[in-house]
Structure formats: C-alpha cells, structure tokens
Subunit: 236 residues, 2 copies
C-alpha cells in the first residue's frame, strides 16, 4: 500500500482526481414505523461502496454517507452512518460544497407521517392500522437544484420496467448530469438472484449526450469503469 | 470437537436433550411492498441463533427457521431460510411434529394486502400512496393451538412498555407454556445501543409458575441459561 501510494504521488496520471472533493450516498434508508418496525428499500450498498473505493483509488477526497448496510466502510473513504432519508440529506448538505455529488443510495420515497413512540399492538376486535405515508425529501433532486450544486451531479436509478425512459425523465426532473440506470427486476437475467444483494450488475449511462450501455460485469468492475467516466467528466 | 463429541456420548448427562426434536424460529421477517421495498422488524437473529446453538450443544436435534439475517447459520443446527411470515409458518408446520417449539423470530404482525409487481413510482400531482395492511398469521398462537402442538411451546416477546403484563397476556392468548420477555426500548439501559442488534440482553421468564428474571448478560450466556431451563422442562 505504501509503495502504491508513493508510486501514485510520483505518477499524477494515476491520480486524476487528486484534490477533487466528492460527496456520495450508498445503501438503503430505513424509515421507522415504531420502535421495532421500519420500511426499507432493498440495497446492499455494494455498488455504491465499490464506487466510493474506486474514486478514492483515483485520488479523490471521498465523503460517503451510508444508510444501514452490513458491509465494511470502504478503504480510503470518509464514511458517515445515517438511517433515514432526512438524516441522509442533512449529512449531504453539511458536506457541501463539493466538486461532484454522486447519489447511489436507494432512498425510501416515503415515510410514515405518524411514527409511534411505543410498539404498535395487535388487538382483537380492533381494525388493522393503515400506514399513512408522506413523501421523503428527494436527495438527488434537492442537490441537483441546490444553491451549492456541485459541478457534476450523478444519480442512480433502480428500475423494474422502462429502464431507459424512466432514467431520461429523471435526468431532467432531478437536475442531474448523468443517471446510471439498472434493471433490478427478477427477470433481468443477472446473477442467480438478480442485481440486488448480488455481486454483478449491468448499467446504462443516460446523459444529455445519449445512452451508453456498459457490459454486464462485477460491481467492482462497473465501479472502476464509472470512476474513470467520472474522472473524465471532472477533468475535461 | 471430535473429542467433545465422544465425551458427550460417554457422558449422557451432558446431552440431556439427545433424541429431542426442537423446531425454532429466529430473525425478522420481511414483508414486500413492491419489488424494491419491504416492511421489516428490527431483529439481528443473535439471541435466537445463540439459543439454537446452545440447545444443539445439549444434544437436541434443532431445526431453525430463520428470516433474513446477516449472521452465519449456527453450528450443529439444520437451518431453513425464509423471508415472509407466511413462508415461516409454512416451514414450521412442515417440520412438525416436534418435542418443543421455540419462537424467537420478530415476525411482522402485518403485511400489505396489495403487493405491487412493479416498483411504485412517485408522480407529481398524484397523491402519496397509503399502505393498506392485513394481519399476518400469528406463528406462536397457531402452533400453541395446533393439532400437532409440541409438548413444550415457548414464545419470545419484545416489548417497549408494560413488559411483564404484556407477556402474561400473551402466555394465555397464544397457548404458550412460557414467554421470554425483554425490554427493547431505548431506555432499557442495556448496552450502548439497546438490546436490538446489540450483544447483551435481560429477559424475564413468564409462565404459569410466575415470573423469573435473569440477570443482564451476553446473548450467548442468556442462551445457555434458557437452554438449561428448556432441558429441565423437557426431561422432567
């Protein structure tokens, strides 16, 4: 590692992102219903954490805001742990300004508007409660239209249908420069159990320039390719 | 391990549960809302998995039905992996008859009655969806009143208030011989982050004989003490 670090210092072309501050999110958010229950999104954090490590390896100063995951903090990255969408947004805003904002987390779109302070009890003869939901802040759209908007804003979109069309719509609505879209449906044909929780991915890069589809690969390899694209965008 | 196994065979008093078949549950359940979202209970599975291992160490033939957890299957235990409450109940019923049924899992009381096959989209101008819930099967009560009810039925109850009173009510309603109750509130004073996800626990054993409170201890130590109590109940 020390040798690699010295080599990198002597070889600035291996560290194209040296001096660049990148704020990222990864993992799911958990939105509490009561002290023992929550609503969650399926997200292992593998793709986001791999991308954070790949950007750090190119010399970036990476600040990663992670929801609840069971994988370790990535090497060479400053990691902040949060649980809910509101905590995630507050942490991200606190880390601005930055050269790039990259939003991989699967943020819950909704939370309950009436979190119970005691465990909700099931009672005979009482009707089953219904969960009334309110919209969570949209972190990508908030930063995409922020007074301190980073020069490069990249969002991730997990879709189960109309992957490219949904991503094109998000590019505009959310004020992003690029949407990295993937198909997380069971029918995506990726890995034995699909993209979510698995180690492989296939992504489409949607930007004002058009759509570029990367070949299916490991999440680490996808991370390296995305990091190279981001370095290109940040240094041209 | 081989030496221990031989010693155990030569020393039947170390294997009081030899020949006893025990069906258990552990971990949370995940109830899907759509392909990427779910409702979950907070449960690491640590206490249930530790108890399964402790019962196996006493010679029992342990069949553990586990919800989604990130800890390894316990040694010496046959483990089955499920996601939802309905899958958990079906697996448990398929494992009957048994000498004891021990239900540690934090089963979701409710699931949505309208799981979406495509990812639900947030749309401008459209109202936020509300989740209509239906009651899940109550695994403990189902087995406590089952035609093939095991001779010993033990339930676990995570409470945030009125811990003992809630447990006494469950003992009767659910047809259990014992409820192992614990206080999972943030104010329980256990560990830096409370019982859930942590490594320590304090439990109260509620049965027709009364209430016995065990001292706060590691989840492994609590598991050994509970396994000894269960062995006593199954062999007297």
């Amino acid at each position: 590692e020390i040798v690699a670090a010295i080599e990198a210092l002597l070889n600035p072309k291996d560290q194209p992102l040296a001096g660049k501050r990148i704020v990222m999110t990864s993992g799911p958010t958990h939105e509490p219903i009561d002290p023992v229950r929550y609503i969650a999104n399926r997200s292992s954090g593998k793709q986001g954490h791999a991308l954070a490590a790949a950007l750090a390896a190119l010399g970036a100063d990476v600040h990663l805001v992670s929801g609840p995951v069971t994988i370790p903090d990535p090497a060479g990255v400053t990691t902040y742990h949060v649980e809910t969408a509101r905590e995630m947004l507050a942490q991200v805003e606190g880390l601005l300004p930055a050269d790039a904002g990259i939003f991989v987390a699967a943020v819950a779109d909704w939370r309950t508007d009436n979190e119970a302070s005691q465990k909700m009890k099931k009672e005979k003869g009482k009707p089953v409660p219904s969960l009334s939901l309110v919209e969570n802040p949209d972190i990508l759209a908030t930063i995409g239209h922020h007074a301190q908007r980073p020069g490069l804003v990249v969002g991730f979109a997990a879709e189960t249908n109309d992957v490219i069309d949904n991503a094109k719509g998000k590019l505009v609505r959310k004020g992003a420069d690029m949407i990295v879209a993937n198909d997380v449906s069971h029918g995506s044909g990726i890995g034995p159990s699909g993209v979510m929780g698995g180690d492989r991915n296939r992504v489409h890069l949607v930007s004002a320039d058009g759509v570029e589809s990367l070949d299916e690969a490991s999440k680490d390899e996808i991370a390296r390719q995305l990091a190279a694209k981001i370095a290109e965008a940040l240094t041209r």
